[in-house]
Amino acid sequence: VSQQHDRSAAHLPHSSADEDRASRVTKDTDAPLPHAPAIALAGHKIVETKDLYRLPVWVGRKVLYTVLPVPHLFRLARAKGRIVWFIPARRRRVLSRLERFFGETKDDADLRRIGQRHLEYIARRQLARVWPEIRGFSGHESCRVEGIEHLDAALAAGKGAILATMHFGYLGLIKPLLRARGYTVWFVGYTGTGRRVPRSTRLGLFVHTRLLRLPLVSRPELRSPDAGVFADLQAGINLRPLLAALNANDVLVVALDTSGHHARERPGSVRPIPVHGTNVLFAPGAMSMARTLDAPVLPTFVVDSNDGSAIGIRLEICPPLALRQSNRRREDLDTGLERFAAVFEAYLGKYPHLFHCDGAGTIAELRVGDRVKVKGRLGEDGIFVALAVKIRPAASGTRTRLRGAIERVDERSKVIRVLDRDIPVPAACRVADHTGKRISLGDVAVGRMLELTGTSPAQGRFVPSRIRLWPDDWDALEGTVQSVDANGRTFQVLGFTVATTEATKVKDRTGRVTRVGRSDDGE
C-alpha cells in the first residue's frame, strides 16, 4: 500500500497518532461481532406490563429470522409495507411528505404510486438494517454489485476511495455488501453511543439481547458494530482516522447530506444545493479530503432491483467524479458537490420511492400560536441557535419544556438556574433521575442536563411541575411561538429568541405543504 503523501498534503499530520487511531479500528473483517456491550442498567425496572406483548413479538421474530430464507423475509417486509398503505394516517403522512419534496413535479397518481412503493421500501429497509446480523448475512451473494470495476480501478491507485452516498435507498448495506466481498470499508458518521437509555426492562433486555440474540439496530447503544448504519469512524472536525484509512488504501462510505452534528458545529459550512428544485444541505468534508489527497470519489447507492434476483436489491458504484483542482478551494468543493448532486438527482428521478423524506419545512411556515420543539444551543449572547425545529399544530397540547445544563442550585430558596434563567421550583415539583426515580434538588450536580416540564402563562414565568435528569447534551425548548420574524429568521418561544440558520432542519407536522428553502427566495 502506498503511503506516499500528495504534495498538497504537506501540512497534514502524519504522526504515530494516525496509526494509533487506525489501529483502534479492527482490520479483521472475520472477527466475531461484539454483542451487547456493557451498559448501565442501574435503575431499570425488572419487568413491566409491556413485556407481555414485547417478548412474544421478539420470540416470533427470532423464529422467522432463524427458519425463513432471507428472500422470503424481504417478501414479508414488502407485504407489510403494502398493508401499512391501507392505514389512512400513515398514507396521509407519507403523501404529505412526498408532496413537500416532489411538489409540482409529480401528479397525484404518481405520488400515490410512489407513496405505496415508499412504504414497501420503508419495511424492506427496516429488514435490510438487521440483515447483516441474520445468519451471518445469509443470502448477500444474491445481491448484484454493479460497477465494482470502478472501485477496483480507484483502489489500484493506492489512495483509497470515498464512496459518496446519501440517506437514500439501502444506505446501510453498502458497507456489509462490500465487506462480504473482501473490501476493507469504514462507514463514516456519528459514532456516539449511549445517547438514550434503553427503554426495555432488565427482563426485556435479557431476553432480546442475551437469550434471543436478536439484531440490535433498534437500540443504537447496543447494536453490533457490523450493522450497516453503525458508524466506524466519527464524522466531524478531526479527520485523522479518516485520512489514516485512506492512506491505508481503505474504502470510506460517507453520506454527503449533512448530519445534525455537523450543522451544530459549523452551520456556516454546509452547502445548500438544489435537487429537484429543493435545497438539500451537503457537507463538504469528503470532497475536501478528496481534493487534498487526490482520492477518488465514487457516487454509490443501494437501490431496488427488478432483475428477478431473489432479494431485489442492487449495489451500484458509479465511475469516479471528475473533481476540479485549482487554487480556489471553495469553488472546487462546490463544483464537486454539484457534480455529485447531479448524479444523486438522476437516482432520485429513477427511484423516487427510495427517498428518506422527513417532512422538511421552513421557518416561513411558522405562525404565532404554533407549537414548536426546538433543539440547539443557547449562545453567550442569549440567542438560542436552533439546530432543529419541529412545528406542530397549535392544538397539539400545552406542554412546555426546557432542557439545559443546570448552572446553579439554591436549595434554600428553591431556585435553579438553567439556560441563563432563574427558575423557582415549587414544593410540589417532582424531581427525578433519568429512570424516574425520585431524587432531591440537592442531588443534582451543577453541569448536569435537566429537562423541566411545566407551564408558562402568556407573559408569566416558567413554572416547572416536573424535573428530571436528561441524558442528551442538547439544549431544547418546547412551547408556543410568541412572535416570528421570517426575514430575520428568528422567532420567540418561552421568552427566548430562537435564531435559525441555513443548517437548521425544520420539520413541519401540521400538514401544510411547503418546500425547503423557498422562503428566502420570496416564493
Binding site: 504537506a10 501540512h11 497534514l12 499530520p13 504522526s15 497518532a17 487511531r21 466531524g236 472536525i237 478531526n238 479527520l239 485523522r240 485520512l243 458545529e265 459549523r266 452551520p267 456556516g268 459550512s269 463538504p284 468534508g285 475536501s288 479530503m289 481534493r291 487534498t292 487554487n327 480556489r328 478551494r329 471553495r330 469553488e331 468543493l333
Partner: protein, 97 residues
C-alpha cells in the same frame, strides 16, 4: 515565542492558505472562521499540521475540536496551552512547502 508572534504566524498561515481566495488579506482574532465557511475540516487538519511542524506543538486528537479552531485567538490559546504543558520543542524555521 510570544503570544503576539504565535498569532502573527498563525494569521499569516490562515490568510495565505485559506482566505486569499476570498479576497481577504486580514482576519480579526475573534472572527469565526469555521462558521463562516472559510475553514472546513480538512483545512483544520492542515492547520494542525502547521501547528505541529512549524510551531512545534503536539496536537492530540482530543484537541481537535471546533472550539480550538473557531478563531485565530482560540488557535493561539491552544498553542500557548500546549506549549505550557509540554517540554520545549524547537519550532521549524519558515513554512514547509
Amino acid at each position: 515565542m510570544t503570544e503576539a508572534q504565535i498569532r502573527e504566524k498563525l494569521r499569516a498561515f490562515v490568510v495565505s492558505t485559506f482566505l486569499l481566495e476570498y479576497g481577504k488579506d486580514t482576519v480579526d482574532p475573534d472572527e469565526d472562521l469555521l462558521n463562516s465557511g472559510y475553514i472546513d475540516s480538512m483545512a483544520v487538519m492542515e492547520t494542525v499540521g502547521f501547528l505541529e511542524e512549524t510551531l512545534g506543538v503536539r496536537v492530540d486528537d482530543d484537541d481537535i475540536v471546533a472550539e480550538n479552531f473557531r478563531t485565530l485567538r482560540a488557535m493561539t490559546e491552544l498553542v500557548l496551552t500546549k506549549r505550557a504543558g509540554a517540554p520545549d520543542v524547537p519550532e521549524r524555521r519558515g513554512t514547509p512547502a
